[in-house]
């Protein structure tokens, strides 16, 4: 069925505060085929933004490009006013970006504690801060277990703890609900908001599950074929309209 939703003039919902994460005209490609066709996104300090879209629309590519795993072909990415477009991943982490990838990608042969400690690299700290374990008590219980032997939900917590260990200003989560049971998804929504409230960091989360996005996000963007086609604040979101974008 042909989508006849007219591309609305982008509503002026960009917050007035200077952006913590500013993306301008971002293009990215796998080899010759371009996947992102010029994205402009601004995320305010302390804001949670959900990027929604179906499979293959460019959500993960956006995350990888922001993280420097995939090079941007043009456009700029700035964190807290610093341009990071040309930097390697580890230098972006030092600038305040942290990443929880799709599939979690924890280091499975390393212990839980060692996994978190890898996140400390850019801070120079030697010990895992107490507040991380306080946030995820289950990780303290399992700190000497190998990461690979944790359940999916526990691995997700570990991946978030590892990302937070670098004291980020902007946290990127790529499909955090994938493969996680519903009760844990709700729990995770609460945790993310608690993290934001406690640390004042900005969060960009890519999602396919609308209820989760509605639960955590202050603002929802819809990405389709590598471009933002819809944007609205949570307060005045038209759920039916967003759901239409997500239906296959």
């Amino acid at each position: 069925m042909l989508q006849t939703v007219p591309a609305p003039p982008p509503p002026d919902v960009t917050p007035a505060a200077p952006a913590m994460l500013a993306i301008r005209g971002l293009h990215a490609a796998y080899g010759q085929s371009e996947v992102l066709h010029g994205l402009d996104i601004a995320v305010a300090p302390g804001e949670i933004v959900a990027v929604m879209g179906r499979n293959g629309m460019g959500k993960s590519t956006l995350m990888k490009t922001l993280m420097g795993i995939l090079p941007a072909t043009s456009g700029t990415i700035a964190i807290d006013g610093h341009d990071v477009t040309g930097l390697k991943s580890h230098a972006r982490v030092a600038r305040g970006l942290a990443y929880v990838p799709q599939g979690r990608m924890i280091f499975s042969t390393m212990t839980v504690q060692e996994n978190i400690e890898t996140g400390l690299t850019v801070t120079g700290a030697r010990r895992v801060p107490e507040d991380l374990y306080a946030m995820f008590p289950v990780l303290l219980e399992m700190k000497d277990r190998r990461g690979g032997n944790l359940s999916g939900g526990q691995q997700q917590q570990l991946a978030i703890a590892r990302a937070l260990a670098s004291r980020p200003k902007v946290l990127l989560l790529d499909e955090p609900t994938e493969g996680i049971q519903p009760s844990i998804i709700r729990e995770m929504g609460r945790t993310l908001k608690a993290i934001r409230d406690a640390r004042g960091l900005s969060i960009v989360v890519s999602e396919q599950v609308l209820s989760f996005a509605m639960d955590v996000a202050d603002r929802v963007l819809v990405i389709e074929n590598g471009a933002i086609v819809h944007e609205s604040l949570r307060a005045d979101i038209d759920e039916a309209q967003v759901a239409r974008f997500l239906s296959v």
């Binding site: 993280m67 420097g68 795993i69 390697k88 991943s89 580890h90 982490v93 030092a94 942290a98 990443y99 990838p101 990608m105 280091f107 499975s108 042969t109 390393m110 060692e114 400690e117 890898t118 996140g119 690299t121 850019v122 030697r126 190998r146 690979g148 032997n149 590892r162 990302a163 260990a165 670098s166």
Partner: protein
Amino acid sequence: MFGDYSLGDLGAIFAMQGFAGLILFSVYLLMALGLAIIFGQMGVINMAHGEFMILGAYVTYLCSTFFQSYLPSLFPIYFFVAMGLAFLASGALGMLVEWGLIRFLYKRPLDTLLATWGLSLILQQAYRSIFGAREVGVELPAWLIGSVQVTDTIEVPINGLFVMAVTLLITGAVALLIFRSRFGQQMRAVMANRAMAGAVGIDTDKVDRTTFGLGCGIAGVAGSAFTMIGSTGPTSGQLYIVDTFLIVVFGGAASLVGTIASAFSISQTQSTLEFFLSGSMAKVLTLLAVVGILMLRPQGLFTLKVRR
């Protein structure tokens, strides 16, 4: 083949060949450690690893002649200095090679094979031009010469004991480095998932360079130890590289315990068989056994059991 020997003789032969095997084991283990670290982390098969070892051997040779002519009073301890210098020289060359050659080829594993093979030829010719084609031997200080008489028929050489002690020390240090230090943690993270290691803030380029230098440095120490059991020539490294590959594959890549176990079993088998058969038959039998075991266990002797 045992017919001509009495039971007591056989016991003594096994003990002494077993000990000779232990010295071989030491050199193999040090070589394989470096090769396994580099292969495990970067997926680079370093064909020039033998030449890094020989660089260590030549450094030891230079030290030996230098101390003999200029510092004869310190000659008894020159070997410790030589080992340190061998580590530094091979390690520095390794880091230079990683920076100038290998890092451009990480996405092309077959090309690294060719490139490092070419490097090994270049290094061999360099050694030939600098040190001459003749093999050189080092002068051992007096305290390393001789042997300990254990029983009437069994005696063990002191330099062998020394080499083994050094090997144990280095293996222990490497294990500590990999499993206890912050750098080792970063190494293991890069080994597990390079892109993700970068995304948690680890400078993967720096870790790669240091790892390559470390692996080559350990090969240099192996070369230093090697001077005690063989003479050093431009192509001596070639004799060891194949066996070392065999050990790394047999042990299961990226497993420290596996590398130790496989270096031990291969060197012991070879050394014991060599006494009763010819050297090449010993090699053939060892190879056949390894091939047989690898057909049953393609992943090598030891692997970690963990959900991926």
